[in-house]
């Protein structure tokens, strides 16, 4: 079908305009405002004790959530695509659950389970374990909301790679583990990397669920997204923009790093 030049331009214009209105303009606005006080101002705003702690906490929580969800996502995808276990029907639904449930609801659920008045609250308090209003709860909340990405990216790649290469490896003397490391993993590498990027981005930016379980204890349970909101509410607009811009920059760097590390994504997918 031959598209006229005009219609091509219209389609491109619409797509670009849509992206611009929804993404580029707001992000650009944040960046511009962040740099309004000048580089020194940005530096000072990022090096306050509160900001330093928020950055460290965010990176730690994200790192733990990404590692856990990469392992879980791989296992879930393997169970869904490579086994005939009954459990996979349930698993298939559960993996998508974080997409369907609002993060705030997740946060509240965690409060109800682990909070002082919650089901396990008494037991936990007796044993001196603190989950809610501290890092463990925030990790659980972050893990939960970022569950689907690795599993949902890796699944189709596993399906496309098929089982023949794994069977060939078996006939050549490879154990299941050897076949996984040497055959399966390399053939899903690109999808896995993309899943990790999405998980990282989601974990970095998570607000709702973490906000509920964190209790927002200054200097203790404030992550970067929470810091943005806190500063904004305290009429420190510039500080909020700086923290937001920093968050956006980290996310962009992660995206860039993965693109550089796995140039094969376009080709194999």
């Amino acid at each position: 079908m031959a598209h006229s030049r005009a219609s091509k331009l219209t389609v491109r214009g619409l797509a670009l305009g849509y992206m611009a209105v929804l993404v580029l303009v707001p992000v650009g606005y944040v960046l511009i405002h962040a740099f309004k006080p000048g580089l020194t101002g940005v530096w000072n705003s990022l090096t306050t004790p509160a900001a330093q702690h928020a950055i460290q906490l965010t990176v730690e929580i994200t790192a733990i959530a990404v590692v856990l969800n990469t392992i879980f996502g791989l296992i879930a995808a393997l169970v869904l695509e490579r086994t005939r276990l009954r459990i996979r029907y349930v698993l298939d639904l559960l993996v998508d659950l974080p997409f369907a449930v609002s993060p705030v609801v997740v946060g509240l659920a965690l409060l109800l389970l682990y909070g002082r008045q919650g089901w396990f609250g008494g037991w936990l308090t007796d044993h001196g374990i603190r989950i809610v209003f501290s890092m463990p709860g925030m990790i659980i909340a972050t893990v939960f909301v970022s569950i689907p990405f690795v599993a949902r990216e890796v699944g189709p790649a596993l399906r496309e790679a098929g089982t023949e290469q794994e069977q060939a490896a078996a006939t050549l003397g490879a154990s299941r583990l050897q076949a996984f490391w040497r055959i399966t993993l390399p053939s899903i590498r690109a999808a896995l990397a993309y899943g990790v990027v999405l998980t990282t981005a989601r974990a970095l930016g998570e607000f709702g669920a973490v906000s509920v379980v964190s209790g927002r204890i200054a200097g203790q349970t404030i992550t970067l997204p929470l810091l943005v909101q806190q500063r904004y509410q305290n009429f420190d607009q510039t500080g909020a923009y700086v923290a937001a811009a920093f968050l956006a920059v980290i996310a962009l760097l992660v995206l860039l790093a993965m693109t550089v590390l796995s140039p094969g994504r376009r080709k194999t997918r």
Binding site: E164, Q167, A168, A169, A170, T171, L172, G173, A174, R189
Partner: protein, 330 residues
């Protein structure tokens, strides 16, 4: 290395892929499992390889029960229809895979890979990726990969099924030479009767998960156990209730007592063979193949009336066929 399959049954849900199958493969032979799709031939091969577990029955390799032995410990080479090339590895790493799994020294792997690539005619393509090879080259690579650790048996699942006719014929002849050179016991799955007749020492004809007949190509061609085997190995024509090879029918231009009468619809010249398409007086079509001299002698043209003589239909021990006719629609 001998293989013996005893009373093997394999089901996939309701579908019975193998129904109490027993078959033996002789040491050093090249055996073809031949049958239409869904006949169970690939499943049988995969059961031998350990890629499928049978629901019942046993598999003996070199006289030992291998039924519960995992594929990786059976010491068999397996070649897949769609090559199953390791796409992220070079040709060198593909072929050397089995050796590197066994942690052989790098120098040894290098030497063995070079030797194998020369054997399969891929010398110099070491650093290519499978995507950069033709279908035929990929399958040669897969063969080299399977041969790397000197398997006791080589199992080939429709190895040439995805290739062009020309490449196919070439690889077929090459496989036979390879087998003669290495002497490795080989089992080949195919749905192509010509391939089986040309390459194999022994053919096992399968249908609906059962073995219809096993024997040398000549035994099967000359003394088929039933109509299915006869129809599957070469072209057939039907006269009344019996099947005949089209070149075993004689045509006469004078009336013969008791012989059916037919009218010539068309004659097709196929080099040495002339195919004559008839309609018998009861309306059934019949294809006959004549030698060129005989056809010239009869001077048949469309519309001519002829009498059909044949008394050789599936007569046991009839003389071996001299020139197998090209398939005229089996």
């Amino acid at each position: 290395m001998t293989i013996e399959v005893r009373d093997v049954t394999k089901r996939f849900g309701e579908f019975v892929a193998l129904d109490d199958v027993s078959v033996a493969v002789d040491d050093g032979s090249l055996t073809a499992l031949l049958g239409p799709s869904g006949s169970g031939k690939s499943t049988l091969l995969r059961v031998i390889a350990g890629l499928e577990a049978p629901d019942a029955g046993t598999v003996l390799i070199a006289g030992e029960d291998a039924t519960g032995v995992p594929a990786r410990r059976r010491g068999l080479g397996f070649v897949f229809q769609h090559y199953a090339a390791f796409r992220h590895m070079t040709v060198r790493d593909n072929v050397g895979f089995a050796l590197s799994i066994r942690r052989r020294p790098k120098a040894e792997i290098r030497a063995r890979v070079n030797e194998l690539l020369t054997l399969v005619g891929l010398a110099g393509l070491h650093e290519r990726y499978p995507d950069q090879l033709s279908g035929g080259q990929r399958q040669r690579m897969a063969l080299a990969r399977a041969l790397a650790v000197e398997p006791r048996v080589l199992l080939l699942d429709e190895p040439f099924g995805a290739l062009d006719t020309g490449v196919r014929a070439e690889l077929r002849a090459w496989l036979r030479r390879l087998h003669d050179d290495t002497g490795v016991t080989t089992v080949l799955v195919t749905h192509d009767q010509e391939e089986a007749l040309e390459v194999a020492d022994r053919i096992v004809v399968m249908r609906d998960g059962r073995i219809e007949q096993a024997g040398t190509p000549r035994e099967l061609y000359d003394r088929p156990a039933n109509d299915f085997v006869m129809g599957f190995l070469g072209s057939v024509s039907r006269i009344g209730d019996s099947l005949v090879r089209p070149f075993e029918i004689e045509l006469r231009t004078e009336p013969v007592d008791g012989a059916p009468e037919g009218m010539v619809r068309r004659t097709v010249h196929l080099g040495f063979v002339v195919r004559v398409e008839l309609v018998l007086d009861d309306g059934t079509p019949l294809t006959v193949e004549l030698s060129r001299p005989r056809a010239e002698e009869l001077e048949l043209a469309a519309g001519d009336i002829v009498w059909v003589v044949s008394d050789v239909a599936r007569r046991p021990g009839r003389p071996p066929a001299t020139a197998p006719a090209p398939a005229a629609g089996r």
